[in-house]
């Protein structure tokens, strides 16, 4: 077994997250899929840190976690305010700029 398996796992998780973003219609679930993609990239960074023998990859993953936390807070607040005005959390209903 080589560390490549971790990279394959994270590639699989990333693809599943991408499918979820495209397929799911609930804005919160779409957001969760984005979190999954961020997590898989974190796994890639940790694995590369191990392959290269340097801790910089782990520091990168740490920064990704911080940015993800901030992003989740703002994104969920935006979803809440959209829900408050449109009474819906579906991404199909946010079409005010459509026409």
């Amino acid at each position: 077994m080589t560390p490549t398996y971790y990279l394959l796992l994270s590639a699989l998780l990333f693809a599943i997250g991408a499918i979820g973003v495209l397929v799911r219609r609930n804005a919160i679930v779409v957001f969760m899929c984005i979190e999954l993609m961020l997590n898989s990239v974190n796994l890639t960074l940790v694995t590369f840190a191990r392959i290269n023998g340097s801790l910089s990859g782990q520091v990168m993953a740490f920064f990704v976690m911080v940015v993800a936390a901030a992003e989740v807070v703002v994104g969920l607040a935006i979803i809440m305010s959209i829900f408050r005005t449109r009474r819906s959390a579906s991404v199909d209903d946010s079409n005010l700029l459509k026409y």
Partner: protein, 286 residues
């Protein structure tokens, strides 16, 4: 020459993956994928969140296995502890039954998204496997083994090499907190805000509610003052509004004795006697 000597002194340059790590990976890797697929296919958003928690916990343990104990604990604390709880809070506020609509706005979008996603997975997996199949890990025994271990080394790296990005992180976090407060704040005068007492009274007498006054409270007898006791109207009948819908009311027959005393059809206890007429509970019921 000196570099080689240093590397040799630091320990083995290749990182061998032992059977324990392999077993951990082959248990937790499929669990992580199962969690991701469960999140993808669960109809209920709360179930999606819980499946994602499974994936994140598995990834956290995989970080620890991969010589990143600090990141593993941060993953569990921050992601599954904070972020997923935030998700669940918002799900509960937005309404957990806000499931996906089955209507496709773009025709065939789900099918094509699935095909493209599977294609992306195949492509990325193939490329990673072809390019990195024979790679050997240098291992983190060197950095993790010197100067206080993994946490201390990450801290040193954060406050020396990555100091400026780290400071930017603080600005980002403050901006995110303020932005979330502004976005989620509903002012006092907003729609659905709290009405004053005077407005409530006017609305009551205009007929927005069923009755202008509060509902009558439960009855109080000498033998019972519970919520289940019905209140009596002046003619001795039961006020139906005093009965709770969810609590089974006490039968009126249990209070016949009390009612008779109140209605003066039965002599009550002698007020001059030190001890009243002994009426046991059984007699009241009979």
């Amino acid at each position: 020459m000196l570099y080689t000597a240093l590397v040799l002194a630091a320990g083995p340059t290749t990182d061998h993956i032992g059977p324990g790590e392999a077993i951990t990976f082959w248990i937790l890797g499929p669990l992580a994928v199962a969690g991701a697929l469960g999140m993808l296919f669960a109809r209920n958003a709360v179930h999606s969140a819980l499946w994602l928690v499974l994936t994140m916990l598995s990834l956290g343990v995989l970080y620890m296995v991969q010589q990143a104990p600090f990141l593993g604990f941060v993953q569990i604390i921050v992601y599954t502890g904070a972020i997923m709880m935030l998700f669940l809070f918002v799900l509960m506020m937005v309404g957990r039954d806000s499931s996906d609509s089955v209507v496709e706005v773009l025709r065939g979008q789900r099918l094509w998204a699935g095909i493209l996603g599977v294609g992306l997975a195949g492509l990325v997996v193939g490329i990673v496997f072809r390019s990195l199949n024979l790679v050997t890990a240098a291992g983190l025994a060197g950095p993790n083994g010197t100067g206080g271990g993994n946490v201390a080394q990450i801290g040193r790296s954060l406050f020396t090499d990555f100091l400026f990005p780290f400071e930017l992180t603080s600005a980002l976090l403050i901006t995110a907190a303020v932005g979330a407060m502004i976005l989620a704040y509903t002012g006092r005068g907003a729609k659905g805000g709290k009405r004053t007492q005077r407005e409530m009274m006017v609305a009551r007498f205009r007929g927005e509610h069923d009755r202008p006054s509060p509902l009558p409270g439960p009855g109080v007898f000498a033998t019972a003052n519970s919520v289940a006791t019905p209140a009596l109207l002046p003619d001795g009948s039961i006020a139906p509004e005093s009965l709770s819908e969810i609590i089974e009311a006490t039968q009126v027959t249990e209070f016949e004795h009390d009612l008779a005393e109140v209605a003066d059809t039965e002599p009550g206890p002698d007020p001059h006697a030190l001890t009243g007429t002994e009426t046991t509970h059984e007699e009241v019921r009979s």
